[in-house]
């Protein structure tokens, strides 16, 4: 049992990271009943944009560029963490504008449109940054490893997991404790209600999509140092995000978090016995859970079921 502990710790950190990845995805599904297949692409885009911001190459040899590159890495990193998601959010908003003709049609069309958008974003990344693997620099304080109970743990992973907890907490507070959150949640269940409350539904959708895209990008920035940066990383991301919302139940915030932890744990623990097969465990988990509970752990009825 004791030898399992590092795997459990690993699994839990992985679970938190999965939760971070799924956060924006589940928000958009929950509120807008749109399956945003571009989530993975926005994740990658955010990370690439943050990388470029941190590197400062695009500012060229102008005075600003030179000044920028002389800033300490931690400052540039902090700015990159903000800039990546903000830029991705604007891309997300453009995507929402494109999605408008599909509202009121079968959910399939939204899904297809975002699939196309994912292709386009991925190809754009290839075009701008090339196909090779790149890395995102992190400040020294976050690098390295530490020993605990005779085992090595990566500092950055813990930073990322802590970051995930904070992000999950903030999003939850935002949804539960602010009037904006209340409106967003109302939008999820009852668009009539939102209109009755005097909010502009299309503005709300635009903001939610931007917010979801920013969360995807944020996850990308945080995950890039662990997974590396490749143009097609989006597809590696969309799958766990998918699994998590299905296992957790479409539209349930805590269902998604719980599912992410379960997926992380199952991958971590199977990793102890059969590392090559560890990723398979999440699919088996999906089938086991959804086989018994057709709406996942905490799902509610959704228009997407039709």
């Amino acid at each position: 049992m004791i030898e399992l502990i590092p795997h459990i710790v690993n699994g839990l950190t992985l679970g938190l990271l999965f939760a971070l990845i799924a956060l924006g995805f589940t928000l958009i599904v929950g509120v807008m009943e749109v399956i945003n297949l571009a989530h993975g692409a926005l994740f990658a885009l955010g990370a690439y944009l943050a990388m470029t911001t941190i590197g400062g190459d695009w500012f060229g040899s102008s005075e600003f560029g030179v000044w920028w590159r002389e800033l300490p890495l931690s400052t540039r990193y902090a700015l990159g963490v903000v800039a990546g998601p903000l830029l991705a959010a604007s891309v997300g908003m453009v995507l929402e504008l494109c999605l408008r003709p599909t509202y009121g049609k079968p959910p399939l069309y939204g899904l297809l449109l975002t699939f196309g958008a994912a292709l386009v974003i991925e190809e754009l990344i290839r075009l701008i940054w090339g196909t090779g693997e790149q890395s995102l620099a992190v400040p020294r304080a976050l690098n390295g490893a530490f020993f605990m109970g005779g085992l090595i743990f990566s500092t950055y992973k813990f930073f990322a997991a802590g970051f995930a907890i904070v992000a999950i907490g903030l999003v939850w507070l935002f949804l539960e404790r602010t009037p904006y959150g209340a409106t967003i949640k109302a939008g999820a269940h009852d668009s009539e209600m939102v209109r009755a409350l005097g909010y502009d539904l299309s503005k709300l959708r635009l903001l939610v999509f931007g917010f979801g895209a920013a969360l995807a990008a944020l996850a990308g920035v945080v995950m890039a140092p662990i997974w590396g940066l490749r143009p097609h990383i989006g597809i590696d991301v969309i799958i766990p995000a998918f699994l998590i919302i299905v296992i957790g139940g479409v539209g349930s915030f805590w269902g998604a978090v719980l599912a992410a932890l379960l997926v992380g744990l199952s991958v971590g623990i199977t990793g102890a016995y059969a590392p090559a097969w560890s990723m398979l465990s999440m699919y088996l988990l999906l089938i086991a859970i959804v086989g018994f509970r057709s709406r996942g752990l905490l799902g509610r009825k959704s228009a997407l079921e039709n």
Binding site: I35, L37, C98, P101, T102, K105, P107, L108, Y109, L111, L112, L113, F115, G116, A117, A118, L119, V120, E122, E123, L124, R126, L127, I235, I238, I239, F242, L243, V246, V250, A276, W277, M279, L280, Y283, L284, L286, I287, V290, G291, S294, R295, S302, L304, E305, N306
Partner: protein
């Protein structure tokens, strides 16, 4: 203006003698003669024909009964591996291999379908992705059987044996004729199927599952059978594909490829027309070769085209052709809208 749907009453009952069918068969029969002339090559014809078998079978599930599978590449892959393994482990035989491909894919389809058929909508789609990923993952990890990421290499192209006649399929020219003949059979069979009572019931289930159940149809069973049927076609396509490629590789099973087949079917207009998948597959491969010849980032342009299509013409190419055709007809004969009105 009224849009066409899959469920419109066919102009000539269910007779396969339609202008579209004639045009299709003509193109199929003459392709080897003009493909090189327009700057394309023989192998493209084989590839398109194989993906047409896959796409048309897939549309039975996707368009006709309205079940959105996003993991169908898995069954194409299973067919490809089954064909290859049959050649390598059991015997070199064309019919045996194709039969093995169809059986393996439909067996997998029967198992997976049993988990899926009481669902629809988003959970159906997500479960198909889950199962598709499992198959893909196993294909990569089961080195001993599938050759892992490298795939199965050196799958032979067995000779075509019919009675005493033996015909080599080693060159792409003769393989094209074989694949085209199978495709022709598939097209006619599927055309019959979708216009026969069974096909109309599939469409009824798409339109209203609840109502279909309450007029006495065993909806679960029909959904299950349709899934199996579509995986059988995928398996057949997979067997032919491994013959064409002389190998079986895991990448056809990836989510990406499964997404592409959905995209092809939709761009072509598989939701509104039997011929939608045909248009979509041809467009995809031609775009790949022509735009791909000009720029490396052809998928960017194809993706953009797709996005614009979903926004402006969600009915796809078939829908577009219908609109253009109707406009032309209107110009030449104002007010003449053919509506069937007999009883």
């Amino acid at each position: 203006m009224r849009m066409i749907t899959l469920s419109d009453i066919p102009a000539r009952g269910g007779s396969p003698m339609t202008p579209a069918m004639a045009l299709f068969m003509l193109a199929l029969a003459t392709a080897p003669f003009w493909l090189p002339a327009v700057g394309l090559y023989q192998y493209l014809g084989i590839e398109v024909a194989i993906w047409l078998i896959f796409a048309l079978g897939f549309n039975l599930l996707f368009g006709y009964i309205g079940l959105h599978s996003f993991g169908h590449g898995a069954y194409l892959g299973i067919g490809a591996y089954a064909f290859g393994l049959f050649q390598q482990e059991i015997m070199v035989s064309l019919w045996g291999g194709l039969l093995a491909a169809i059986l393996a894919a439909s067996l997998a389809g029967a198992v997976v379908g049993a988990f899926l058929s009481h669902r629809r909508g988003i959970y159906y789609a997500l479960m198909t992705i889950g199962f598709g990923q499992i198959v893909w993952f196993c294909a990569i990890k089961l080195h001993g059987v599938t050759g892992g990421e490298d795939g199965l290499l050196g799958i032979p192209r067995p000779d075509l044996v019919v009675g005493p006649i033996r015909y080599s399929l080693a060159d792409n020219y003769s393989l094209y004729w074989f694949v085209a003949a199978i495709l022709a059979l598939v097209v006619v069979a599927l055309w019959r199927l979708v216009n026969a009572p069974f096909g109309r019931v599939l469409q009824a289930i798409r339109q209203n599952e609840t109502r279909a159940r309450f007029v006495g149809y065993n909806v679960w069973l029909i959904k299950w059978l349709t899934f199996i049927l579509s995986t059988a076609f995928a398996g057949l396509a997979g067997g032919l594909f491994s013959m064409a490629q002389e190998g079986a590789y895991p990448d056809v099973m990836s989510l990406h490829q499964s997404g592409l087949i959905v995209m092809m079917v939709l761009v072509g207009g598989g939701l509104v027309s039997f011929w939608g998948p045909v248009l979509g597959v041809i467009l995809y491969f031609v775009a790949r070769d022509i735009i791909g010849g000009v720029t490396e980032t052809w998928l960017l342009w194809f993706g953009l085209m797709f996005v614009i299509m979903v926004i402006t013409r969600p009915e796809g190419l078939a829908g577009l052709l219908h609109v253009v055709g109707a406009r032309l007809r209107k110009k030449s004969a104002p007010g003449a809208v053919p509506v069937r009105k007999e009883a």
